[in-house]
């Protein structure tokens, strides 16, 4: 299986610096994401490494210009921006792009937020289809009780509803997000991993304490390790553990360690 690493794993530096670290660590599969400092060189850096052989996917509000554009799909969107973004993805040969469901204020009705999200994701899907890009939507997680916002797709029922409403859109299963779900168990995990292969876009991996999405490193105690044998074959994994500021050697060790785990438990 292909093992990608997210640029969010090495944030706080320029895209060129992060890609240089990945490249020198022997990594050839990168997911563009939030994390790097936006600068005027970002697109050139992405292009330079692409020409050297780096293969990309892209996720949500990834950094691709001299500033970062966050967006929230439960709110009306500037579609000119998304046309521009999907044009860019197509221009660098990216065929897999995924987004978050978005978040909404706790004073807003969830159903209303879902309706706006559904309209937005439908439009975004059309933009992607026209450019041969496969669109995915990621499983999210419940925010802390004192947070003023909630995430869409933070529970199994709503995700199942979305799968039913949009059979043509793929799912990104984030195993660290599932670790924060209120009613998590291995049966539930397997239910999502048993989605038909054609419904899964990729699997995001990192770890946390079950409370906050802190993107810690995968350890022997990481909850889904024992389930790796059930991971669907051929679905790319994306490492999202934070390795900021660590030297190339550590990034390389971490990537190779996870690659070995995938090989051992996931059957290569």
């Amino acid at each position: 299986m292909e093992l990608y690493i997210s640029l969010s794993a090495y944030g706080g530096v320029s895209t060129r610096e992060a890609l240089t670290i990945f490249w020198n660590a022997g990594i050839r599969h990168t997911e563009l994401a939030i994390g790097p400092k936006p600068d005027a060189d970002t697109t050139q850096a992405i292009e330079d490494f692409r020409q050297m052989g780096m293969v990309y996917r892209a996720h949500h509000a990834f950094v691709w210009s001299d500033r970062h554009y966050p967006f929230n799909l439960t709110q009306p969107q500037d579609w000119k921006y998304f046309e521009h973004l999907t044009d860019y993805l197509a221009s660098i040969g990216i065929t897999a792009y995924s987004v978050h469901g978005g978040n909404f204020s706790k004073t807003t009705e969830r159903a209303k937020a879902y309706t706006t999200f559904v309209e937005n994701v439908h439009y975004l899907h059309q933009l992607c289809l026209a450019r041969d890009i496969v669109l995915g939507v990621e499983t999210m997680y419940p925010t802390s009780p004192i947070s003023s916002v909630e995430n869409l797709l933070d529970n199994a029922t709503e995700l199942a509803q979305f799968c039913q409403d949009f059979p043509q859109i793929k799912i990104v299963v984030d195993l660290a997000h599932l670790n924060i779900w209120h009613h998590k168990n291995e049966v539930m995990l397997n239910q999502w991993l048993e989605l038909p292969l054609e419904r899964l876009l990729e699997i995001h991996i990192s770890d946390n304490d079950g409370r906050q999405d802190i993107h810690s490193r995968i350890t022997d105690n990481t909850w889904w390790l024992s389930q790796m044998t059930n991971f669907p074959k051929g679905i790319p994994l994306v490492i999202e553990s934070r390795l900021n500021r660590l030297p190339v050697s550590v990034v390389q060790q971490e990537y190779e360690r996870i690659a070995d785990l995938c090989y051992l438990f996931g059957g290569g």
Binding site: G12, I34, H68, H100, S144, I146, H182, D209, G210
Partner: protein, 253 residues
């Protein structure tokens, strides 16, 4: 053509209406500017002299307060030294008792099932922690600013602090986020309860793994130690009190 002649020519060709308007606006501004100049001449020297007076007086106050400020700094050093050797010296302070009461009143956010919740007594002198031979060292308090922080969706400026925590012979650095500033309108602070529940207790539980107590004792100790650390950060931020002269005339504008 000489520049004087060119100017005369230009003046000649300025349309009459525009010329009138310019003269009017010039004289309009002129009167105001004369008043401003008049005010500056009269009052700027007075303000400058007042400022000089305040600076001289403040210097006198600073000299006078020096002994008391230095004495406070020495006391604070004594306190941080005590926390470095055993933070349990705070168990009998009234401040901790109040902190625990407030914490217990904070609505429990404990919906997650992974960790069990151990209740702690309101009077810290009765804690299990007070009965054991287990020194808890807290030292090396440092604050940090991360200009390039980010979560899954947005960038932010992050503020945090780190502490070295020592339990018996086991030691580790704990990082606790304090605040995220997303933009001028939106920021998020980590409450004392969140600091304890989300960032301190996990590290404490890990460290306790290396120490031989029963599982029940470890969980009780983790709750007590985490609360004690959460409170101690209030002590680490203490600074000597110094005389500050604050005067703002902005609100009078």
């Amino acid at each position: 053509m000489s520049s004087v002649k060119l100017q005369q020519l230009l003046i000649v060709y300025v349309p009459e209406k525009l010329s009138k308007a310019m003269t009017n606006s010039n004289s309009l501004l002129l009167s105001y500017e004369e008043l401003v100049q008049n005010h500056a001449n009269q009052f700027d020297p007075q303000i400058a002299s007042l400022q000089q007076l305040v600076e001289t007086r403040m210097q006198e106050i600073r000299n006078a307060e020096q002994t008391l400020v230095e004495a406070q700094a020495i006391e604070l050093k004594r306190i941080t030294d005590a926390l470095a050797s055993d933070v349990r010296c705070l168990l009998s302070t009234p401040g901790l008792r109040t902190f625990v009461q407030e914490l217990k009143q904070t609505k429990s956010n404990n919906w997650y099932t992974r960790k069990s919740k151990f209740s702690i007594a309101e009077d810290p002198t009765t804690w299990l922690l007070a009965t054991l031979e287990l020194p808890i060292g807290l030292s090396n308090y440092q604050t940090h600013e991360d200009l390039n922080g980010y979560d899954d969706e947005r960038n932010f400026i992050g503020y945090s602090y780190t502490l070295s925590l020592r339990l018996g012979s086991a030691e580790r650095s704990v990082e606790i986020p304090l605040k995220r500033i997303y933009n001028v309108k939106e920021s998020r602070e980590t409450s004392a309860k969140e600091q304890i529940d989300y960032y301190i207790s996990g590290e404490v539980e890990d460290l306790l793994e290396e120490i031989k107590y029963t599982e029940e004792q470890k969980q009780q100790l983790a709750a007590e130690i985490s609360t004690l650390i959460g409170y101690s950060t209030k002590i680490f931020t203490l600074k000597p009190r110094t005389a500050i002269f604050e005067y703002s005339s902005i609100s009078e504008g």
